[in-house]
Subunit: 218 residues, 2 copies
């Protein structure tokens, strides 16, 4: 049993160091050699034993972040004191307010040159987040009368595609003005499904995140 512990520790060390370097230098400007230089004597072979490429490391780093995000989503989904619509609003708010969002927008990988990450995000959004977190909330909302739709599976996908993909400046580059306008259209779309859940506090935070991203990218 003890023999299995070391690889996990090695992987975590590689991910910690990579995450810090991605944050400091940006993903595009960090090389595998930079990561090795900060691993205190760990060999190139040891890294390549666990990860095929820098992009593989990035996917693992973001997987760790996704696990934290899923934890947050699960907690809101399972709360007993909110109706469906309130939970959906809470999820929007908490998702953009997580401090790790600043980190992600600071690392700011360019999805156009990191296709594996884009697929991993699209896949996770549609195959995991939509059915496991948003769908149960929409179903609760239908049952408690706070949400109206006949197709909750598809509505969950459409909401996430708009919020996580279209509004993501790492995938579709947006100025602060464009982020504002996307936010307004998303709010109008949600209202069309009876979901009046966007507020000015969310808008301010979103504008802040866009500014962080553009500062680090520029």
């Amino acid at each position: 049993m003890a023999r299995n512990k070391q690889p996990e520790e090695t992987v975590n060390l590689i991910l910690d160091v990579s995450f810090r370097l991605f944050m400091e230098k940006g993903y595009e400007h960090t090389s595998i050699q930079d990561i090795i230089d900060h691993l205190g004597g760990l060999s190139k072979g040891a890294i390549y034993h666990h990860f095929k490429s820098k992009e593989d490391i990035l996917v693992a780093v973001t997987d760790r972040m996704t696990a934290e995000s899923n934890q947050m989503l699960a907690e809101i989904r399972d709360r007993a004191d909110l109706d469906g619509k309130e939970k959906l609003k809470r999820i929007f708010k908490d998702s953009i307010n997580r401090p790790v969002q600043n980190d992600i927008f600071t690392i700011a990988p360019d999805f156009h040159s990191n296709s594996k990450l884009l697929f991993s995000l699209l896949h996770d959004t549609i195959e995991n987040v939509a059915p496991n977190y948003i769908l149960p909330i929409l179903r609760q909302g239908i049952a408690d009368g706070s949400i109206e739709t006949d197709y909750p599976e598809q509505l969950a996908e459409l909401i996430l595609l708009a919020a996580n993909v279209w509004m993501n400046p790492m995938i579709f580059d947006s100025s602060e003005e464009e982020s504002f306008r996307k936010f307004m259209i998303l709010g109008q779309m949600l209202k069309g499904f009876g979901l009046d859940i966007m507020d000015s506090e969310m808008l301010e935070r979103l504008t802040e995140l866009t500014a962080i991203y553009r500062k680090n990218k520029g």
Copy 2:
């Protein structure tokens, strides 16, 4: 002048042959060698002079199709006898009714292993189709009172992202039942923007296209 003609003819020949092979065998099952074997003595070097990879050829094949599609979009955009909302409905109808849609769904490339094609589609949708074809129609609709929105640029993007990307079974695999449900949610979304433009004829054609795709993929 005459010397420039030959490369164009060579490129067109390569694209014609590749298109036919992609149709007959499917993109994934066509090799560069298959294409060479059907080019009547053209050397491997001649192909690689024009295209870096099979994926490059696929992008060029779809670019040719896109040019035809843009021609159709421009004709509807420039019609004098329709208001904004009617033009948008016409575009939906004509887009899915084009015979070339059957061809595309027969070639059925797997976007997950052809990232360049996915980026090319996403890029073309947001950077070209939205501002050049859908936006002028939404603006006309705002002026003639048939469409209501304060953010036509973003609405154009959101509509296309839903219709061209999310509803595209080559990007997000859908059963016929799921295609139907996506169509219903897209219709509900458009109604939320005052755009009651989806009808049962479109739904039937969409179901037909999904069936063509699934048959060729399976």
